[in-house]
Symmetry: C2
Subunit: 299 residues, 2 copies
């Protein structure tokens, strides 16, 4: 065990950054939020926040969950970079390198959704569920598995939002909003896809709008595919679109139909209400998960 | 290290069983094949084959890759059972229990496709590629990941053949042959799906038949989804349908289009010929992989 008491967490999102110092959800001693502007300005604010703690040697390590795409392969020459993001000024930003150089403490970095998955696995709704999964449906769609206590990694980062699912153009003539894949899952069901379809944000769409049944179906198809490919013990479903909380029931109902009792486990045949759940940490999964990544690094 | 020199491997397929004794692909000292009949007759032949080696204490452990669905969860009361198979007489057969009782040596059991994945990972085309994946497209469609040197397991067994993929009914009006899901991947692209479509086996369909372009597209969509969900370092594609070896090139070509350089790794943007490959062990991945499971159990 370390003699240092505290850890840092950074949720680096495309629209805002959240930084926190603490040890666990009920022991957060300091926290700050600010909008994401240029890399220079944004990362200076991150460093200003942590520097006093670093100077006093009160934090041992920091975790960073970053928007992406990010290179999380330690063997890669661009490890720790935000790579091909369309976000102005941020493409090819060595976010990990800059922070590590300025702050001088070890920093664990992963995708934002991987940090959220760790937060829910260590302290939230997926606690002790290994493997477990976190899926966010919001501005983007992304997912992460936790396996053997850590975010699962492969040849490249997981890009679960871009899977192809059935798209019945008779029911939904929208061509999809993904610049790479058109009508992939994210292209059909993310916040921007809803905005492109209706010219207004999903929040302002009535709960009774028939579109929500389509949305529930798309999410259910994708979740079914994840379950068939690597069946987690539990799935947390978060993100802005899921604030329409009637979606949980509809997704479960569609999923029963899609799986059709082929996978013979009570959680999947009759207890999806215990299997597909909202984040227990609410919108704090990301920053708390970043602290979990820092703790994991310190082990 | 064990003082025993040999291991047993059983590839328990729905149409035939293969049993072997040896240590590695070029050191197989005995091997037998016979058709799968009733559980009693089939398992008696398995035991007759291994009994002399067991009596002389020449084999330390046996690996079994079984057709399924099988229960591979050691915590389950039906661990080691072939469960809900439609194959006559085999439903609810405690295959692991029967063999372990008769032979009295430790037996490692997994799905047949997981054994094949181990074979290709230890001695074949996926050697040292971790995580790697094996997908079989034949009588059924199934896949397995090897992660941290072992077949990856989740809440239930992986059933990658049953994912939903885009199915353009204008191009392909076939409704699908899966009794559970209709037009899931297996329902559209397995050997029986081809047979149901044309009233004849895929082998007898001309190489120039336009159907093969559809088939390549279905396989490419599914493989793209697996890569986006858990990106392996290499994929072996085997099974009876893949004996039409022109399919490899067409699948790679479709996959370039589907991924559209979104995943920024040279293997995925320009070197799919090194990434999606036939089994190096040919039709011996299964029985050799079963021996690999036995060796793994003995470690």
């Amino acid at each position: 065990m370390s003699t240092y008491l505290l850890y840092g967490g950074i949720e680096g999102g495309g629209t805002k950054f959240i930084c926190a110092v603490g040890r666990r959800p009920d022991e957060i001693v300091d926290e700050i939020r600010f909008p994401t502007t240029t890399p220079q300005e944004t990362l200076e604010r991150v460093c200003s926040f942590f520097t006093p703690y670093v100077r006093e040697a009160r934090i041992k390590s920091i975790g960073l969950g970053s928007f992406g795409p990010v290179d999380v392969d330690p063997a890669s020459p661009t490890y720790g970079y935000i790579t091909t993001t369309p976000k102005p000024n941020w493409a090819n930003t060595n976010i990990l390198g800059i922070l590590q150089k300025e702050l001088g403490v070890p920093i664990a970095m992963d995708m934002d959704v991987a940090a959220s998955a760790m937060g829910e696995f260590i302290w939230g709704a997926n606690q002790s569920q290994d493997p477990s999964m976190y899926l966010t449906v919001g501005t983007g769609i992304g997912g992460s598995y936790i396996l053997n206590g850590k975010p699962l990694r492969g040849l490249v980062s997981l890009e679960m939002g871009h899977v192809r699912i059935p798209h019945d153009e008779k029911l939904d003539s929208f061509k999809g909003s993904c610049p790479y894949h058109g009508d992939c899952f994210e292209g059909l069901a993310s916040g921007p896809a809803i905005q492109a379809r209706f010219g207004k944000r999903g929040e302002s769409l009535a709960d009774g709008d028939p579109f929500w049944e389509l949305e529930a179906g798309y999410i259910a198809y994708a979740v079914a595919n994840y379950i068939l490919t690597l069946p987690p013990k539990k799935i947390v479903l978060g993100g802005g679109v899921m604030r329409k909380d009637f979606l949980y029931g509809r997704i479960r109902s569609r999923l029963y139909g899609i799986l059709n009792k082929y996978l013979n486990h009570p959680l999947l045949t009759s207890q999806l209400d215990k299997y597909i759940v909202p984040p227990a940490l609410g919108d704090r999964s990301g920053v708390l998960g970043a602290i979990a990544l820092a703790i994991e690094l310190d082990k």
